[in-house]
């Protein structure tokens, strides 16, 4: 059955956005604030209220993801309060994004105790000068400590490390060293994500053209990551994600498989499908925590805007998303394959599906615009 016609049901995710950081990274344009800690309690409360109001106990979450911002700034009690309001299926994957600097064993145990099953560390790099260049506030040492604590707290096989490729001054050797150090962590990560540093308008990085990433350098690093991670037993399952077999992030996969999810908190996105019409709705919440708290307090959902996708557009989107994953797309979805020279070496046939090669993953958008 094609994704577009799949009836609602199956996996269901809940995303909780935590819009607080201790300091803003140089490249970050995301909805997060460094000066609004006084809002934390009211914000957590608003998430709890929204969860109770919006989530249907008959549709328990198969994954919950606390993303940010820096969710690990929340005390386990706060995470627990929100989780208590989220109906979750047995065995649900519950992830909290963590800044290595803001966690210790007790906090991670606390997370475990309230039901968290997975951690995702924003490591970005294991090289000092690269972290400084990214404007991050942690040192490589804190990663070692955080990961050790994660192991102790029961997350040895279920934590992720995020890396960024292409900071100013990061050599390919620097990046290789980050990869090696990450793979050498004890316990070793079962999941690694690697993203290209992206220049977002309005950020300090955007204002400094001399520090913008070089796409060729990023391509080299990506191929290197793919090699080393594969050699360490982590297979790619989405352009930016590698995992040991069985350790893929369920919540992440939900995004790429057009699954349904509900976003709680400001700037969170949601997606639902009407099984009767086959129409999908994607909507997103207001951007600031103040407005979110206020709207939820007034009995609203916090929604800011929405788009509706008719079945043909959904089908198109399904292909675009599937192309990003190891599942690939049915051969017929890429009519140019075999004739369009520019696709040579970018996709290969796995059974009756076309799957991106490592070079193809780097040019996924170019391939995607050639979808039928």
């Amino acid at each position: 059955m094609s994704p577009a016609s799949r009836p609602a049901g199956g996996d269901f995710g809940v995303y909780v956005h935590v819009p607080f950081c201790t300091r803003r990274c140089d490249y970050c344009a995301f909805a997060t604030w460094t000066d609004r800690f006084h809002l934390v309690d009211a914000y957590v409360e608003a998430c709890v209220v929204a969860a109770r109001r919006r989530l249907d106990p008959a549709r328990p979450a198969t994954s919950v993801f606390f993303g940010g911002g820096t969710p690990s700034l929340l005390a386990p009690g706060a995470v627990g309060r929100i989780l208590a309001a989220v109906p979750a299926a047995a065995g649900a994957e519950i992830t909290v994004e963590c800044n290595p600097e803001s966690v210790d064993r007790d906090k991670l145990r606390g997370y475990r105790d309230v039901g968290v099953t997975r951690l995702s560390f924003g490591v970005q790099s294991m090289v000092d000068h690269v972290l400084v260049s990214l404007g991050r506030d942690h040192a490589p040492d804190s990663v070692l400590r955080a990961v050790e604590a994660a192991g102790d707290a029961g997350f040895a096989d279920s934590y992720n490390v995020d890396l960024i490729m292409g900071a100013a001054g990061e050599s390919v050797d620097d990046f290789a060293s980050s990869l090696d150090q990450v793979l050498g962590l004890d316990p070793a990560p079962a999941h690694v994500s690697a993203y290209g540093l992206t220049v977002e308008p309005g950020t300090p990085l955007a204002a400094a053209p001399g520090r913008h990433p070089d796409p060729d350098d990023q391509a080299d690093k990506y191929l290197l990551a793919d090699q080393r991670l594969a050699a360490a037993g982590l297979e790619w399952y989405e352009i930016s994600n590698w995992a040991r077999p069985g350790s893929s992030c369920r919540h992440n996969l939900l995004y790429w498989s057009q699954g349904e999810y509900e976003g709680l908190g400001c700037a969170a996105h949601s997606h639902s499908v009407d099984p009767r019409t086959g129409r999908a709705r994607r909507w997103w919440n207001v951007r600031t925590p103040e407005r979110y708290v206020k709207l939820v307090g007034q009995g609203g959902s916090g929604e800011s805007a929405a788009e509706v996708l008719e079945p043909p557009a959904r089908l198109q989107e399904a292909m675009e998303l599937a192309l990003r994953t190891r599942a690939g797309v049915p051969q017929g979805a890429l009519p140019g394959w075999g004739t369009d020279e520019s696709l040579d070496g970018l996709v290969e046939l796995h059974g009756d599906h076309l799957v991106l090669t490592s070079r193809g993953r780097l040019l996924a958008n170019e391939v995607a615009v050639r979808l039928a």
């Binding site: 995710g13 995303y15 956005h17 995301f30 909805a31 993303g67 995020d162 490729m165 994500s193 690697a194 993203y195 290209g196 992206t198 796409p215 060729d216 990023q218 391509a219 990506y222 352009i239 930016s240 995004y255 999810y261 976003g263 700037a267 969170a268 996105h269 949601s270 997606h271 994607r282 997103w284 788009e307 989107e317 675009e320 998303l321 020279e341 520019s342 070079r359 780097l362 040019l363 996924a364 958008n365 170019e366 995607a368 615009v369």
Partner: protein, 594 residues
């Protein structure tokens, strides 16, 4: 009207020496324009003239001064519009030669003065801007005397800004410029010296009556066009149009005769009475020939028809623009247009964009070449793509100018270097005064079109001035350079250049394009070639990655929008072979070329 009471003159000067400002003071002093209606450069009525502070079109006006009727024509100073000056002179017995008292004689001062002398016109010289602290009227009066033979003590000193000396100037005009001659009893002979198109009235012509008289209601014969028209209205410009019953010999006025096409009432046309025609046409003048050509293309392909209409309309007012449809693989459908010079080209383009709401791409300006083929025939080449294949070519000729440069003597060396590097041959070098040098060179028009004027100004801190006129053709070692993207020639970037400059042009163009052509899915060689031989090469390396951003907060919408944008962008690309080039890259590359 009593001929003795009429004075007809043109105000001529180098660019910016103050002709239009002087006209303002004259309009004021003679009471032609009320103080409250006055505005600076009153006669510069086009928006583009007012914005740029230059005169593009000559304007005539009639004023009264101490019992005399004065017709004056404010002329443009810029060399591109020199033909407006020659036309105007044909309707006059004298000129007021305005010279900036802080600059002295410049290139167009000389050109205008010589033209006045050739036409046997009386010259009333006036040093203007004497209010300026830098003004040095004594020095420049001596210079004018030496160079032009106007006695220093006859040169007026005025300030068109403050009005100082303008009344004296008017007196001098009445005193020194001879009245027109003409016989009211002879058959009508009127000279049209300017025509423009008014959307309500049709063609409005400026006319100088030489003999006979032009009366409202007359049936007229246009001798050159061979057409007959009935007078709808005649009148005088004061500067508002005031209808009159008749215009007699020596008088200047306007004529409206229900004509829809300026081509039928060209400057230089002789108008006579259809019932009692003059035996002979007056001496007309040649239409100015376009010197510079470029392709004009609408940015939006759909605008082609609109561009055609705009050009048709614009030509009603400016018969010196020529256009012919042309097609470019890179730019689509457009027109190859001819202009009197670079400024004219710039102004026409701006008018098309503003008055007709178009967005245009212009190819690099080029000149006309004559290609002589081995079979003895000759082809006119207005566009590099029309250049015959090298093996069929016997020789190529290019147009030359005689360029006159006036400059402080200290820049002699650098100016000679400049002219030599632009393939100029010295004709004459003369010290007009101990401080002022006159250099005359024969130089290819193509070199001047490139960036000669800017180079001239920058080498002389702006002190040198340039005037030129056509000076025939000469054979030259010219080659056509093609620019190829992935092996496919891009016509918009072809150029005809001198063999010695080919390498440099090729290098510049390929380098520039390397920065503008987006990376493709494969390596794209950019080559410059002369007759199949590659003379410069750059490569746009294949693109290796697009977006690898994190998907924050489940924002799939953003990823999809990005793809939609990329797809949209792809649709708007022009395909040169397999290479996708955004329109913007062409625009940029050609803009930089300007």
């Amino acid at each position: 009207m009593n001929l003795d009471r009429i004075r007809n003159l043109s105000i001529v000067a180098h660019v910016d020496h103050g002709k239009s400002t002087l006209s303002d003071r004259i309009l004021e002093l003679t009471g032609a324009v009320d103080a409250r209606d006055m505005r600076e450069q009153y006669l510069d009525s086009m928006d583009i003239e007012r914005e740029r502070g230059i005169t593009i079109k000559a304007q005539n006006v009639r004023v009264e001064w101490k019992g005399h009727t004065i017709h004056l024509i404010d002329t443009p100073g810029h060399v591109d519009f020199g033909y407006e000056v020659s036309r105007s002179l044909a309707a006059c017995e004298g000129v007021v030669l305005v010279v900036d008292a802080a600059q002295g004689i410049e290139a167009q001062t000389l050109a205008n003065a010589y033209q006045a002398l050739e036409n046997d016109l009386e010259i009333v010289a006036a040093l203007n801007k004497i209010d300026l602290p830098a003004a040095d009227p004594d020095r420049y009066a001596a210079e004018i005397e030496k160079v032009l033979g106007v006695p220093a003590d006859q040169i007026l000193r005025i300030s068109a800004k403050t009005g100082f000396g303008v009344a004296d100037l008017l007196d001098a005009i009445v005193e020194r410029i001879p009245p027109p001659k003409g016989d009211p009893d002879l058959p009508l002979q009127g000279l049209i010296f300017d025509s423009y198109y008014d959307q309500y009235r049709g063609v409005v012509s400026a006319i100088r009556i030489v003999n006979g008289s032009l009366t409202a209601g007359a049936r007229l014969r246009f001798l050159q066009a061979g057409r007959t028209h009935d007078v709808e209205e005649i009148g005088i410009r004061t500067p508002l149009n005031v209808p009159v019953a008749a215009l007699g010999p020596g008088e200047v006025g306007y004529l409206i005769a229900g004509i829809k096409d300026v081509g039928e009432a060209r400057s230089g046309e002789t108008v006579t009475d259809a019932g009692r025609p003059a035996a002979k046409a007056l001496e007309g003048y040649e239409d100015p020939k376009p010197m510079v050509f470029c392709g004009l293309y609408p940015v939006e392909g759909d605008d082609f028809a609109n561009l055609r209409e705009a050009l048709e309309k614009l030509r009603l007012n400016d018969a010196s623009v020529t256009y012919e449809p042309e097609t470019s693989g890179a730019l689509g459908f457009g027109f190859r247009c001819g202009f009197l010079g670079l400024l004219h080209m710039e102004i026409v383009r701006e008018r098309l964009e503003r008055e007709f709401d178009l967005s245009l791409i212009a190819t690099a300006p080029s000149v006309e070449y004559r290609a002589h083929l081995t079979d003895g025939s000759t082809v006119e080449v207005h566009n590099p793509s029309e250049m015959p294949e090298p093996q069929t070519l016997d020789s190529i000729e290019e147009p030359y100018l005689q360029a006159t440069i006036l400059s402080p003597t200290e820049y002699t060396g650098t100016l000679m270097d400049l002219c030599q590097s632009r393939r100029g041959d010295m004709v004459r070098m003369e010290y007009l005064s101990p401080e002022r040098l006159e250099l005359v060179y024969r130089i290819p028009l193509a070199e001047v079109v490139m960036d000669f004027f800017d180079a001239l100004k920058s080498r002389t801190k702006g002190y040198a001035s340039l005037d030129y006129e056509s000076a025939g053709w000469a054979q030259a070692e010219l080659v056509k350079i093609d620019v190829l993207l992935n092996g496919v020639p891009v016509d918009a970037f072809s150029a005809i250049v001198h063999r010695s400059e080919a390498q440099e042009y090729g290098r510049r163009m390929t380098e520039r394009l390397r920065g503008l052509i987006p990376r493709q899915m494969f390596d794209v060689p950019i080559q410059a070639a002369v007759g199949g031989r590659i003379i410069a090469r750059e490569t746009v390396k294949a693109k290796r990655k697009d977006v690898l951003a994190k998907c924050y907060g489940g924002d799939i919408t953003r990823k999809r929008k990005l793809l939609e944008k990329q797809k949209e962008g792809k649709k708007r690309m022009k395909n040169i072979g397999r290479v996708e080039v955004p329109q913007e890259a062409f625009i940029q590359a050609l803009r930089l070329e300007e």
